[in-house]
Symmetry: C2
Subunit: 115 residues, 2 copies
DNA sequence: TCCTTATATGTGGATAAGCGCATATATAAT
DNA sequence: ATTATATATGCGCTTATCCACATATAAGGA
C-alpha cells in the first residue's frame, strides 16, 4: 500500500495551495477578492491590517498562483486567478456548518437532560 | 468594506480545516482514508512514517472533525468523517493541474523560440 | 528634480508546527 | 499477573510562520 513518488510530488504541490489557505487572514482576502479586484491599501483597510502585512499575505497568494496582479499607475490591482478556489472554500464552509449544527444539537440534548 | 465579526468567527473556524490541510502528510492521509478505513500502523507503514508521527497527524485531523475513530480490539480504525473534504482537495488538484499545464505550455513556447 | 502615493522588503522577536526518541496507556491473550 | 500488540503522549530540538516597525522601491505629478 505504497504511494508512488510521482503522486507524492503532486501532493507536495497540492500542499502549496493548502498551506496558503492555512492562514485565516488569507482566507478573508480571497473572499474579499471574490467580490471584486482590489488594491493593497483597500484590502489592508478592509481587514484593518498594517499595509506590510497585507502585502506579504498577497505575495504568498501570488507565489502560489491563487491571485493575479495588474499594475495600474502607482497601484497594483489584485484579482482572483481561479474562482474554483472559492468553490473549495465553500465546500469547507459547508462541512463546517454541518459540524456546528450537529454540535448545537448535542448541546440542546444535554440541556434537555439537565433540565 | 468591513467584515462583520460573526463572519470573522466563521472564517476562524474555517481556518481550522484549512490549516489541517496545510501539511502534505495529512493530505496524503486523507487520500489514503478516502479508499478505506485504516489503522494507525497501516497508515504509518504506507507513508513510511514513525508511528508517533502518524498518530499525531491523525489527532490533528480528528480534533478538527475531519476523521472519525472506532476502537476495534487493541487497534483503532480511522475513517473519513465527511467525504466532501476529498471533493475540496480534488478541486485544488484541478486548479493545480491547470497551472502545471499552463507552465508546460510556456516552457514549450520558450524552447521553440530558443531552437 | 522633488514630493507624494502605493507597494514591497529587511529585520528581529514571538509563537507555533513538526519531528524522532523514549515512554506511557489500553486492550487482549496466555 | 505477565506479555504482546496497538496507540498515544511528554520532551527537547529545529524550523517555519506571523507580525509590526522601519525602510526601500516604483510610478506619477508639480
Amino acid at each position: 500500500m505504497d504511494i508512488k513518488s510521482t503522486e507524492k510530488e503532486v501532493n507536495l504541490l497540492h500542499e502549496r495551495i493548502c498551506s496558503a489557505l492555512g492562514d485565516p487572514t488569507r482566507i478573508l482576502i480571497l473572499y474579499l477578492l471574490s467580490e471584486r479586484g482590489m488594491y493593497v491599501n483597500e484590502i489592508s483597510e478592509a481587514l484593518k491590517l498594517p499595509q506590510s502585512s497585507a502585502s506579504r499575505h498577497l505575495r504568498v497568494l501570488r507565489e502560489r498562483n491563487l491571485v493575479a496582479t495588474e499594475r495600474q499607475g502607482t497601484a497594483i490591482l489584485y484579482t482572483l486567478q481561479d474562482r474554483r478556489i472559492i468553490e473549495a472554500l465553500n465546500l469547507m464552509r459547508a462541512i463546517l456548518s454541518q459540524q456546528l449544527q450537529e454540535a448545537a444539537e448535542i448541546t440542546g440534548a444535554i440541556q434537555k437532560i439537565n433540565s
